[in-house]
Symmetry: C3
Subunit: 130 residues, 3 copies
Amino acid sequence: DTKVLSANAPLGVGVDQELISAVPSHNPTFVSRNFTDAEIAYCRSQPSPPSSFAARWVGKEAVFKSLGVKSQGAAAAMKEIEILNDDSGVPTVYLHGRAKVQAAEKGISKVLISLSHSETVAIAFAQASS
Amino acid sequence: DTKVLSANAPLGVGVDQELISAVPSHNPTFVSRNFTDAEIAYCRSQPSPPSSFAARWVGKEAVFKSLGVKSQGAAAAMKEIEILNDDSGVPTVYLHGRAKVQAAEKGISKVLISLSHSETVAIAFAQASS
Amino acid sequence: DTKVLSANAPLGVGVDQELISAVPSHNPTFVSRNFTDAEIAYCRSQPSPPSSFAARWVGKEAVFKSLGVKSQGAAAAMKEIEILNDDSGVPTVYLHGRAKVQAAEKGISKVLISLSHSETVAIAFAQASS
């Protein structure tokens, strides 16, 4: 049984939202467990670090959903989903470790992400494709 | 006049949100008119049935928008858009009846969906493609 | 160095949200600077013009993000991103001026958009592809 995955097939989408106040970005353990050094440096350099951490947090959740893998709850390694801005300021997804392996197994070669935060709410959308 | 639709062409997107308190999931007529038996069983098994009904409700609205068909308002048969979780817990769209026919007429062969709810708000995103 | 972009490649996504009350649609300068005549006529014909202006405003922001170009802040010509409903009521994106040029340079040939507003919040999602 052969399965041919054409290029650019949409394979998953993910949306997530959270109250900024509900993301414990003031907790060093939460931050170091879930964000890479580059993400932490970026978020701390922004006008409102709590908003930036919250936006990246929902971004990671949205990417995770777009991968379509079974949730491991608190055990999910959100640090394996890294979101860094490119030269144009566009948030870009880098997968590491098991997240990278799981994406490859599903034929996912690209995950696009967009982030937004208002005064109180952070929201993210992710799209995974072959 | 021949129109060739290549595979994986993005044909529509849909976003919808609603206050969970604004979705009348306590109303048996609303529930039985808009949700399939399998959806009802799933939502009632969840920790917060009102949140789950609301998330599926906005999911149906988002799928409907992604199909790009004219709205029939209250007459739209939201039961024809069924959202059930697959084995990995990923919400998956099944179209029935007129919704299925309309999607086929537009060349839509796949609709991806993601759902999210916070304490108060449910949100969904859908993506339709050939 | 030749780059071949296949059709239907997903090139960017964009999400944006705003409190409806935070979009100054009562300000004629804001409106005339950011909306085309056709958009203004449409929004003013709707049951709640502030909600419609806010939805289109976040729609423009979401499209802008999906193009993946560097933000020019207040100088960004949001009027160059026009969102008009088609015959089925589906919001459709038309790019003009520099936005059109920048999209073409990135190989973007299509931008899909969906808009939603609750009582208080407007949200939009955009998807750009080749």
